[in-house]
């Protein structure tokens, strides 16, 4: 059992929770995730990125969006409640490089779309701590869906906000500022993208012509998260890789995003039926 120590709501469908997890807080590194189950008997194993951790307090933070039955169930849990299972940290940590050399600071651009800002936060922190200059591009459909702005401002040297409808920051898609950065004389040394699969696909296409190293954090469907089921597999550079053990981060220019996006929809019909039956959605 894992205790929920804190809970807050960041936007209509996005919640943040602090969980008691001393072992995970001690071992985790940027880019890693956990798998949890709310209900001991019937719960589904769902993967969520570790958005932050405090090894001294023995806690980790998760930030999640309610998209289906399991995330909805989690959102109904309150401070003081316990969830049945929590396991981690899983996946490979982000490969953090300090690109600074000859008096020039390395430059890393972290792109977070929607809820993807949450996983991008520890990655931005780690690149910054290594000595790089870090720019964040945060994108969302509309102003109310922008999350973690203050924290991202703290973690980065510079933050660019874009919304689809122009209600906050610049109007447009994350790919626009990203392309501009890549066209500069001094290009970013690395771009990391975390967000909805379609956004990641286009962000990867945006950086490719410039030859800028681009990493995408994939959120495939998972069960065990330890390499046992192969359900999370993706095609990277023509080879099959398991996101939970070989990833979750891969060279975005090598990922077969079309297959990845299709595979994410594997259980669409089943989940829709679940959603209706669960009584959790009005």
């Amino acid at each position: 059992m894992t205790k929920i120590l804190k809970k807050s709501q960041l936007s209509e469908n996005v919640f943040r929770m602090t969980l008691e997890a001393p072992l995970i807080a001690r071992e985790r590194k940027a880019g890693q995730f956990i798998i949890l189950r709310t209900d001991a008997e019937w719960g589904e194993r769902i993967p969520l990125t570790i958005a932050d951790a405090d090894p001294l307090a023995g806690t980790i933070d998760i930030i999640f969006q309610t998209v289906g039955v399991s995330t909805k169930q989690l959102s109904l849990c309150n401070e003081g409640d316990s969830i049945a299972d929590l396991v981690g940290p899983l996946g490979k940590p982000t490969d953090i490089t300090n690109y600074s050399k000859d008096g020039r600071k390395g430059w890393v651009v972290v792109v977070g779309g929607g809820i993807g800002v949450a996983p991008s936060h520890p990655i931005a922190q780690a690149f910054k701590a290594a000595g790089n200059r870090v720019t964040a591009i945060m994108g969302a459909r509309t102003k109310d869906l922008i999350i973690m702005e203050d924290e991202m401002r703290k973690a980065c040297d510079e933050v660019v906000i874009v919304t689809d409808d122009g209600t906050y920051g610049r109007k447009g898609l994350v790919t626009e500022p990203l392309k501009e950065f890549c066209s500069l004389e001094e290009k970013p040394d690395e771009v990391v993208i975390v967000g909805p699969p379609v956004m990641m696909k286009f962000a990867a296409l945006a950086t490719k012509p410039f030859g800028v190293k681009t990493i995408a954090s994939l959120n495939s469907i998972m069960i065990d998260g330890t390499g046992m089921c192969g359900g999370c597999r993706v095609t990277v550079g023509g080879k099959t890789k398991f996101v939970c053990v070989d990833g979750p981060e891969f060279d975005a220019h090598e990922v077969d995003f079309d297959n990845f996006i299709k595979r994410l929809g594997t259980f669409k019909d089943e989940e829709a039926a679940h959603k209706c039956k669960s009584g959790l959605f009005g």
């Binding site: 072992l23 995970i24 071992e27 189950r37 209900d39 001991a40 008997e41 019937w42 719960g43 589904e44 194993r45 039955v69 399991s70 169930q73 049945a84 299972d85 929590l86 396991v87 981690g88 940290p89 899983l90 069960i223 065990d224 330890t226 390499g227 046992m228 089921c229 192969g230 359900g231 597999r233 993706v234 095609t235 099959t240 053990v245 079309d258 297959n259 299709k262 595979r263 929809g265 594997t266 259980f267 019909d269 089943e270 989940e271 039926a273 679940h274 039956k277």
Partner: protein, 466 residues
């Protein structure tokens, strides 16, 4: 009774659920003997001096001994004899490939020239385990030594029990949220009810074994760090790495490893759609690739998950199938369609990226190879395809790489199997032992159990005060 009279007793058939009914429920297929049947079957044993059957049992159960007690109706004594050598009789009685182990060597079967007519050792073993509450296991005075057991499959359960019995303080660490290893996530309820595995785990707890679930050694904690807290460690992490065939179309929607397919249904109980939050794939026409126990389980699970047609595709002939004979027989009875001497060449998808058909090649058996097995050879130009919407790949699994990848001190072979000393079962890291599928490659429950036992002996010797 004279030998002649014994040979005249008809082999006791195992009562089982009607195939038509059971193909659509998760209840156990083989219902088990009654006391009367168990006694009768046990009395078919000739009590051979040379005990050839014992040679066939990997843990050398005193088979004629327990059969004699069972024939007398003293099942309690029979179970006590079994438990001297095996800790998991309710499991092994159900899932051992008896026709290739104990029963293969049985004199009675030899006399009838039919292994199916051998004394049904496994079935009697199962009856003894199911009908008698085992005595509470005595635990030696605490030694003050701490043992960590990694994994909770049959190798680990056995090792934990034997170490606890010796008085060590044992903690078991399991990556999943539930203990039992393949016995709970792989082998289906209809073949091995989960309550049987749960009972074994309860037994461990009663002996004082601490159980920690949701703990991935190598991730939650490095093995080397755990070594500082434990005097000895047993690694029984199994062969959980699913193999794929590396053919075109394997990442289409609707292609699953047997591990994923079975885990969703077994461990996550996805078949109880009204309750479980984990979804499963509703396949109508399912192709299963492979010919082992895993392939049989996946095929029969597909039927229970509502498939209209299940095609089992295996590139050798039925004779070479590694599955237990009983499972092959049950699968056929339930309506699984067998395609032997055929193999998948590629999987074809529709415009949405979903499986729509499978293309196979026909095979023939060539000359025997070095191992004496006739290897299958593809017949050029024999391609044909048929429509399916689901493909389950059950062509084997490799060693779980997690521990080796995070513990350079532990040496593994080319295939990732952990290397151990044959007598002590110690790995190349002092104080760390290993056994089960992580050492043997995908094997059997009883072999894993035997390995766990051998490793426990190694650990107990290693921790012996001197």
């Amino acid at each position: 009774m004279t030998a002649k009279e014994k040979l005249a007793i008809a082999p006791q058939e195992m009562p089982q659920q009607d195939p038509v009914v059971r193909a659509h429920n998760m209840e156990e297929v083989a219902l088990g003997y009654t006391a009367e049947m168990a006694k009768k079957e046990a009395s078919r044993c000739l009590a051979c001096q040379a005990k050839p059957c014992v040679q066939g049992c990997p843990v050398k159960i005193n088979i004629p001994g327990f059969l004699a007690a069972a024939a007398e109706g003293d099942f309690k004594k029979a179970l006590a004899i079994i438990r001297e050598s095996s800790l998991l009789p309710a499991v092994c009685g159900r899932v051992c490939p008896q026709e290739r182990q104990c029963q293969k060597f049985c004199t009675v079967g030899k006399m009838f020239k039919d292994v199916a007519k051998a004394v049904a050792i496994g079935r009697v073993e199962r009856y003894c385990a199911d009908s008698v509450e085992p005595e509470k296991t005595e635990v030696a005075a605490p030694t003050g030594k701490r043992v960590a057991v990694i994994g909770s499959g049959p190798a680990s359960v056995t090792c934990a029990a034997d170490c606890a019995r010796a008085g060590h303080e044992v903690t078991m660490f399991e990556a999943f949220h539930k203990t039992g290893g393949v016995l709970v996530y792989g082998i289906p309820e209809f073949r091995l009810p989960k309550r049987i595995v749960e009972k074994e785990i309860e037994g461990l707890k009663a002996m004082g074994v601490k159980i920690v679930t949701d703990f991935v050694v190598g991730k939650t904690r490095k093995l080397a760090d755990m070594k500082k807290e434990f005097d000895a460690i047993f690694v029984g992490t199994g062969a959980g790495l699913p193999k794929f065939m590396d053919i075109e179309g394997e990442n289409l929607i609707g292609v699953f490893s047997a591990n994923e397919y079975l885990t969703r249904a077994n461990l996550m109980k996805a078949y109880l759609e009204d309750k479980a939050a984990t979804p499963f794939w509703h396949g109508r026409k399912v192709a299963v690739l492979g010919g082992g126990n895993v392939a049989m389980d996946a095929s029969r699970m597909a039927l229970r998950l509502g498939a209209e047609e299940v095609h089992l595709i295996y590139r050798r002939s039925e004779k070479e199938m590694p599955a237990r004979v009983e499972e092959v027989h049950h699968a056929k009875e339930e309506g699984v369609i067998f395609h032997t001497l055929e193999n998948a060449k590629r999987i074809l998808g529709d415009e949405q990226g979903k499986v729509r058909a499978i293309e196979c090649l026909k095979y023939e058996l060539g000359e025997p190879d070095a191992s004496g097995r006739r290897s299958p050879v593809a017949i050029a130009g024999s391609e044909f395809e048929f429509p399916v919407d689901t493909v389950v790949v059950a062509v084997g699994s490799g060693a779980n790489p997690l521990i080796a990848a995070t513990t350079p001190e532990i040496e593994v072979d080319r295939k990732g199997h952990v290397l151990v000393d044959e007598t002590t079962r110690m790995t190349t890291m002092p104080g760390v032992f290993a056994g089960g599928d992580i050492v043997l490659g995908a094997a059997t429950v009883i072999l894993a159990m035997g390995e766990g036992r051998a490793a426990a002996a190694g650990i107990n010797e290693y921790l012996r005060p001197r």
